[in-house]
């Protein structure tokens, strides 16, 4: 195509570079008494708008009574490559579960 092709109509006319909004992680509490559960992520220019975008994206079907947003880069995560060292170790350590132990005779209400 030649450069005489008309540009697609765009509300972003002008030559200012479009910066990407930062990423936020969204946590939604479904009802009182439950904890906030990670629902997904979104882009927003700041925290206030992130809460509003979260409301539009993650609570439009009546899913929540409370929303938290956290800057994604404020979250420190476990290293997926260190899965073995991090999460394999409890395997086989059944004594970490209360059910491993036999109840002593005469103990009620355990």
């Amino acid at each position: 195509m030649t450069d005489t092709t008309p540009a697609a109509p765009s509300p972003q006319q002008g030559d200012a570079p479009q910066e990407l909004w930062p990423l936020w992680e969204v946590f939604v509490r479904a009802s009182r008494g439950l904890s906030h559960v990670h629902a997904g992520s979104l882009h927003a220019p700041d925290a206030t708008m992130a809460v509003r975008n979260a409301r539009d994206l993650y609570t439009r079907r009546n899913e929540g009574v409370s929303v938290w947003v956290v800057p994604a880069d404020a979250i420190t995560t476990s290293d997926p490559d260190a899965k073995g060292a991090f999460f394999e170790s409890p395997k086989g350590k059944t004594y970490r579960h209360a059910t491993y132990y036999t109840k002593s005779e005469g103990v009620k209400h355990l």
Partner: protein, 275 residues
Amino acid sequence: MTAGGFDSATRISVGQALTAEDIAAAGLHADEDVARYATRLGDDALILSQRLSWWISRAPELEEDIALGNIALDLLGHARSLLTYAGTAGGKTEDDLAYFRDEDDFTCVHLVQLDPGDFGHTIARQLVYSLYAYELYTALSHSDDPTLAAIAQKAVKEVEYHVDHAWQWAMRLGDGTEESHRRMQAGLDQVWPFVDELFEDDDLTDRLKGVAVQPSSLRPAFDDAIRRVLAESTLELPSVPQARTGGRRGEHRESLGFVLAEMQSLARMHPGASW
């Protein structure tokens, strides 16, 4: 909480709220004047909804696309309830009124007809309309007509969020960069000539005292709110002449014809089509 409640962030539960279907099923019969009044308010919401939905796939970010789409759907909900109720006067459905009336039978204000401009223009229009609609539905919640009151009580909660959305963006654009400030102020200047029409009383609103809201009575609260948001946004109240009015009498801007052509073409080509 609804019966059964909800226990996960993905469980769908539909809240109890008045719907257009409820109104259609209630066997109501609005009188002629009430129907004309409901049609006005319904037409405002319908055409603005159509205008806003233009942004879907065009907003600056996906998240904003969805926010504007949500607001457009809320407005469509208001339009459906109001037009369904208006239709009960003459045995018509919401679709009869939305798709099979011609341009001069529509009674929406000019503000909602304006061609879509840039994002600043859209936020300016949303700010003006939402602040007006918030005052309108707050007052209409106390209408002597129980159906109008019920529609308004549901709508006002949604419009409160629309006000917040526009307010947040006006602050960010107005008090943002030089370019965003310039565009937000320009958008405001472009929509301002159409503000007075929102607050015009006429024979109909005079006759419907107690049922309809006198538009002029909403102006002081609107002015207070707009002054506050403009001050917070470092924007100026435009001093531009007011445009000719007439939307309530069926005298429209050229742009309404294009909105209606797009909105009505499918229903007119395939009457009764459903999906």
